[in-house]
C-alpha cells in the first residue's frame, strides 16, 4: 500500500529507504492525479516489494512541493539510495510510466 509522506517523514521514508521509492506529488482536486493512483498501486503490486510508493499531498506539503520545484501535477519522482534518479510529469499508463522511470 502507498504510504503518506510529510516534510517530517520524507528523510526516513524516502531518502533512507532500502528500496527505491516512487514519490507521487498529487492533490485531491486534480483529476489526473486521482486517475494515476490506481496505476501506481498496480505498479507497486507488480514489482512486489522492489519499490515503495510514497504520496505527497501538495496542498498539505507545500514545502516539499517547493523543494522539488513541482510545477505541474501529477509529478512522479523516483529516488534510489537517497538520490533523485528520475522525474516523470503527467498521467500515463502503467507501461509508459514504468519505461519512463527506467524500472
Amino acid at each position: 500500500m502507498p504510504i503518506k509522506v510529510t516534510t517530517e517523514t520524507f528523510k526516513t521514508e524516502v531518502l533512507e529507504s532500502e528500496v527505491p521509492v516512487i514519490v507521487d506529488f498529487w492533490a485531491q482536486w486534480c483529476r489526473p492525479c486521482l486517475m494515476l493512483a490506481p496505476v501506481l498501486e498496480e505498479l507497486e503490486a507488480d514489482l512486489e516489494g522492489k519499490v515503495k510508493i510514497a504520496k505527497v499531498n501538495v496542498d498539505e506539503e507545500g514545502y516539499l512541493a517547493n523543494q522539488f520545484r513541482i510545477s505541474s501535477i501529477p509529478t512522479v519522482l523516483l529516488f534510489e539510495n537517497g538520490k533523485l534518479k528520475n522525474q516523470v510529469i503527467g498521467l500515463m499508463r502503467k507501461e509508459d510510466l514504468k519505461r519512463r522511470l527506467g524500472l
Partner: protein, 283 residues
C-alpha cells in the same frame, strides 16, 4: 438526458452519430467547424466517389445524412466536460447532459512557436488550470489564448492569484478580460529549472508559469482534464472498445492516432458507436 453526446462532426463523429441514431439512441452531435477535412481540397482515395470530392463537400454530406436520420446537431464550441454520475458538456451557449460521450474532434493541440517552448512543458508551462493553478497561489501567472477557452481557464486562475497577464501571441482577442493584455507574438520563453521570463519582442515579462489555452480546446485537452490516458504523442488511449480509462468516455478518429485517414475515422466511428450502444445497455 441524451444517450450519447458526440463531439466533432468529421467522419468519425458523424459516422458514430449515424450508427447511434440507427440504434435508436437519443444522440446529440456538437460541432464547431470543419476541422482537418474542411481543409482538404481533393479526396481521391475514399471508396465510392468516381469523381473527386472536396473535403468540405464530403463533410457537409455526412452531416446532412446524420440530420436526415434524426441526429440532433448543433454548431457550438465545447469548453468543458464534467463527469460525475453522468457527463455534463458545457458549450459557449449551453449545457447538455449525456450518459456517454464520444470525443471525435481530430488532432490539434495548440502549441507556441516561441523559442524555449518545448523545453519547459511541465516545468512552468501548463495545459491545465484546474490541475496546476493551485501550485501558483499568489504567484505571477501568464496565460496564452484569445477566446472563450482562455476566458474559462482565466476564471479558474483568478481563484489562485490576481497577478495575471494575458498573452494573445499575435492573435485577435475575441473576449473581454480584466487583466493586462500583451498582444504581440511571444518570441522566447526563458527560465532556469522552470519558467521565469516571457520575452515579447524587446519587452520582458516576469512570470512563474505560463498556461496554454490557445483557440479552442482539443480532444486531448478534455481528456487531460478528465483524467483519461494520453500517449506520448498526446493521442487519447482507448481499449478495443474505443473506450478510454473513464467509463462512458469514448474517443475515435484522429484524436486516437493511427492512420490519419477518412476511411479509418469512419471505421472508428462505427466501432465506437457499437461499443457505446453496448455500454448504454449495461450501464
Amino acid at each position: 438526458m441524451y444517450d450519447a453526446i458526440v463531439i466533432g462532426g468529421g467522419p468519425a463523429g458523424a459516422t458514430a452519430a449515424i450508427y447511434l441514431q440507427r440504434f435508436k439512441k437519443r444522440t446529440l452531435l456538437i460541432m464547431k467547424d470543419s476541422g482537418a477535412l474542411g481543409k482538404t481540397a481533393h479526396i481521391d482515395n475514399y471508396y465510392g466517389f468516381e469523381e473527386t470530392i472536396t473535403g468540405p463537400e464530403l463533410l457537409e454530406r455526412g452531416i446532412a445524412q446524420a440530420r436526415r436520420l434524426g441526429v440532433e446537431i448543433i454548431n457550438d464550441e465545447v469548453l468543458h466536460i464534467d463527469n460525475l454520475e453522468h457527463f455534463t458538456v458545457k458549450t459557449i451557449n449551453g449545457t447538455y447532459d449525456g450518459k456517454s460521450v464520444l470525443l471525435a474532434t481530430g488532432k490539434s493541440q495548440a502549441n507556441l512557436k516561441a523559442k524555449g517552448f518545448n523545453d519547459f512543458i511541465g516545468k512552468g508551462i501548463s495545459y491545465c488550470a484546474i490541475c496546476d493553478g493551485f501550485i501558483y497561489r499568489n504567484k505571477r501567472i501568464g496565460i496564452v489564448g484569445n477566446k472563450e477557452f482562455m476566458e474559462e481557464e482565466l476564471e479558474i486562475l483568478k481563484d489562485f492569484s490576481q497577478d495575471i497577464l494575458v498573452f494573445t501571441d499575435g492573435m485577435d482577442l475575441e473576449v473581454d478580460v480584466d487583466k493586462p493584455v500583451i498582444k504581440e507574438k511571444i518570441t522566447e520563453i526563458k527560465g532556469d529549472d522552470t519558467v521565469n521570463k516571457i520575452i515579447v519582442g524587446d519587452k520582458t515579462f516576469d512570470v512563474d508559469v505560463l498556461f496554454i489555452a490557445i483557440g479552442s480546446p482539443s480532444a486531448s485537452d478534455f481528456a487531460l482534464r478528465m483524467g483519461a490516458f494520453l500517449d506520448e504523442n498526446k493521442y487519447i488511449v482507448v481499449n478495443d472498445e474505443y473506450m478510454t480509462n473513464i467509463p462512458g468516455l469514448f474517443a475515435a478518429g484522429d484524436s486516437i492516432g493511427g492512420l490519419l485517414q477518412i476511411v479509418k475515422a469512419t471505421s472508428d466511428g462505427a466501432h465506437a458507436a457499437i461499443s457505446m450502444h453496448r455500454y448504454a445497455k449495461s450501464a
